[in-house]
């Protein structure tokens, strides 16, 4: 459980603690908020993200479900329809797939189907992405599926403070949100101010200003990109601008554009497979809207078009500092056309 502190007082929290704090604060603020999923109650979640909520808010507001993901999302739809604000957890990224139908055919479409009469204020929390040596199906990058599905917001925090603020925003939003938590940053600490909100959903943030090239990224790779930027500055004298998207839908294209107009070079950095990964959309948009501003094509430093590898191979497969800097170098290799 998150260490308690007076509201307004910043505390150093891990992302796990920050999410836990956001859930507690949301449940405290609005008793229509309910938290459920597999092993979230007694156990407090396999990552302890929901620890203490069952004790504190009781078994009606925080409960374990049977092992059935479609039922977790399907029942959330019904609860939302009756005025609740469900915050279901799907235990791991790969287990959103059994719930794909409920997400794509109902969660995403209920507002539209009801001609705006019914909202779906459902925040689906999903411990996501790779990098922690998990078994098969526990390291999936699912964001492309949701981003392509009209009607879903897709939020991916990169650190504890954003996780706290964006999760509260998501729970308060009347739209359904897929909230993808980068497991590999679960234990990274950051100062979190429970009394304040950061930039809202839909706003990207420049995490590091630079002139050489723009790196667009999100989630667990933001930290990697910042690391790469340090290396690049030290070793090559490059100054990379690092944009943390924070949400993929809505996409803050303005912030990307503002940067690329200055740098003329754009690299998208994400860990999911390249083909139709988020990099495809950003490349398509950037070249379409900033055609005359580009010194080089938009390049992608990403995972590969293979199933996610077994744990022992993931560090080689995953895009890291090297892959990003190789790609920046490739971008810099382009001369004016």
């Amino acid at each position: 459980m998150a260490p308690t502190a007076a509201v307004g007082e910043a505390q150093e929290l891990t992302m796990v603690q920050a999410i836990n704090a956001a859930l507690a604060d949301a449940m405290e603020a609005d008793d229509r908020v309910v938290v459920f999923g597999e092993d979230v109650a007694r156990q407090g979640g396999v990552f302890r993200v929901t620890e203490g909520l069952w004790d504190r808010f009781g078994p009606q507001r925080c409960f374990d479900t049977p092992l059935a993901e479609s039922s977790i999302i399907g029942s959330a739809v019904g609860m939302a329809l009756r005025g609740f604000r469900p915050v279901p957890e799907i235990q791991f990224d790969g287990f959103t797939y059994p719930a794909f139908d409920q997400i794509a055919t109902h969660l995403a479409k209920y507002r539209s189907r009801s001609r705006g009469l019914l909202s779906m204020p459902v925040t689906v929390r999903v411990p996501s992405f790779g990098g922690i040596g998990s078994p098969e199906h526990h390291s999936e990058s699912t964001e492309s599926y949701w981003v392509h599905t009209a009607g879903l917001k897709v939020v991916v925090p990169s650190g504890a403070a954003d996780a706290y603020s964006l999760l509260l925003d998501s729970i308060e939003s009347d739209d359904p949100v897929l909230f993808l938590e980068p497991k590999r940053r679960y234990w990274a600490k950051e100062m979190v101010d429970r009394g304040a909100r950061r930039e809202p959903i839909g706003k990207a943030v420049v995490r590091r200003a630079g002139e050489t090239a723009t790196v667009v990224t999100y989630g667990g790779l933001v930290g990697t990109a910042l690391e790469a930027a340090e290396v690049a500055a030290a070793d090559e004298g490059w100054s990379l601008e690092i944009i943390d998207l924070r949400s993929l839908v809505p996409l803050d294209f303005e912030t990307i554009a503002e940067s690329v107009v200055r740098t003329g070079r754009c690299i998208v950095f994400h860990e999911g497979p390249r083909t139709l990964g988020m990099g495809a959309e950003i490349a398509a948009r950037v070249q379409e809207e900033l055609f005359f501003n580009l010194e080089a094509p938009v390049l992608r430093a990403t995972g590969f078009d293979t199933p996610y590898p077994p744990a022992r191979l993931e560090s080689t497969w995953l895009p890291g500092v090297d892959r990003l800097l190789d790609t920046v170098e490739r971008s810099l290799g382009y001369d004016h056309g």
Partner: protein, 359 residues
């Protein structure tokens, strides 16, 4: 009389096929019998509007229509045993339940015309939009039923599913979740014997759908779905049980889809007229009428009034649907999110310009 005996696998029937009342149970359902003249009217109206929907489809006014002919008692009887505030989660064939709820047939017609998904005017009457992906709505019903408990509103939620739907994983997950949570939810399976061309025997190997209750720890009841009184009695008891916090019930209403699956379907490809004839002889509307005759409460004016009311509603339906103007395609962008994103605003403008250019 407890109709919900845990393994109650005999068919509950209160009106025999020829309309004679059940010899022993008349007194127990006396409170329901009073409603029958009104429900008879709803069934007749359902049958007539159903016909009108089919006409409108033939005239090119609707894209498609799934007739509920033959299932009127199962649908009207179920709805009649509930409160008007009890949420219903229909599949798509529940015209009788919709009409009992007082939903404007025009809002149903506009769905089948292809003017808006899910139908209009349902939500306002505590009916969820029609759900095309089979079985999915059962889970929504369970979630809504759980919400009812939390709200303490005493509501019961009904998931309508078909015999075919029982094969879907979602229906299993719904039954299981409802049972575990003791959710005030009824699973009302209209076993109309067919899922498009697939007969029940190819759908499952259990002795009956009601038998599935056992595996979830909930009562499973088999009721004659062409006997409106039996449907009412069973739903009434199951609803009372649910309201009392005793949990969900699985109800199998045994009936028959007299028409094609939808107006696009040709049932002669997969079933015999002889089979249809057997069920034509079990017509639920005629049975109710005969029953009222047996009770001595039948009056020909009932028929006349029902037909007159149906005529008015048919006209209303035609007026609502025939050459109805389409919604603006630009409206599609307004309901994706609470507020359209910048991208959606841009796409909306693009389409608006395209429409303008096309004149």
């Amino acid at each position: 009389m407890d109709l919900l005996v845990a393994e109650g696998l005999e068919l509950v029937q209160l009106i025999a096929e020829d309309g004679t009342p059940h010899p022993d149970r008349a007194h127990e359902v006396a409170h329901l019998v009073d409603q029958l003249p009104a429900l008879y009217e709803t069934m007749v109206v359902t049958r007539e509007l159903d016909e009108e929907f089919v006409n409108l489809q033939r005239q090119g006014q609707l894209a498609l229509f799934p007739s509920c002919r033959g299932q009127e008692a199962a649908q009207v009887g179920c709805a009649a045993a509930l409160r008007d505030t009890d949420w219903l989660f229909p599949q798509y064939r529940e015209l009788g339940a919709f009409l009992h709820r007082g939903i404007d047939p025009g809002g149903i017609g506009l769905m089948w015309r292809g003017a808006w998904h899910g139908g209009l005017g349902l939500i306002e009457r505590a009916v969820a939009p029609m759900s095309i992906p089979i079985g999915t709505q059962a889970l929504h019903a369970v979630g809504a039923a759980m919400a009812s408990t939390w709200l303490g509103d005493g509501g019961v939620t009904v998931a309508f599913v078909g015999d075919g739907a029982t094969s879907e994983g979602d229906v299993h997950e719904a039954l299981n979740l409802a049972a575990v949570r003791k959710a005030p939810c009824l699973f009302y399976v209209q076993n109309n014997q067919w899922a498009i061309s697939t007969p029940l025997a190819d759908q499952m190997a259990a002795p009956s759908i009601a038998h599935k209750g056992v595996g979830y720890g909930m009562p499973g009841v088999r009721v004659d779905g062409n006997d409106i009184l039996a449907c009412m009695a069973v739903v009434e008891q199951a609803a009372a049980r649910a309201r009392a916090g005793e949990g969900p019930t699985l109800i199998e209403a045994v009936t028959y889809r007299l028409g094609p699956h939808t107006t696009s379907d040709d049932p002669t490809r997969y079933r015999t007229q002889a089979e249809v004839d057997v069920w034509l002889a079990r017509d639920p509307i005629a049975r109710c009428r005969a029953y009222l005759g047996h009770l001595g409460t039948w009056d020909d004016s009932l028929e006349d009034e029902a037909r007159a009311k149906a005529a008015v509603l048919r006209t209303g339906l035609r007026a609502a649907v025939f050459d109805a103007p389409d919604p603006s395609p630009l409206e599609l962008f307004d309901h994706v999110f609470t507020e359209p994103t910048a991208e959606l605003r841009a796409q909306r403008a693009e389409l608006a310009a395209e429409i303008d250019r096309a004149g």
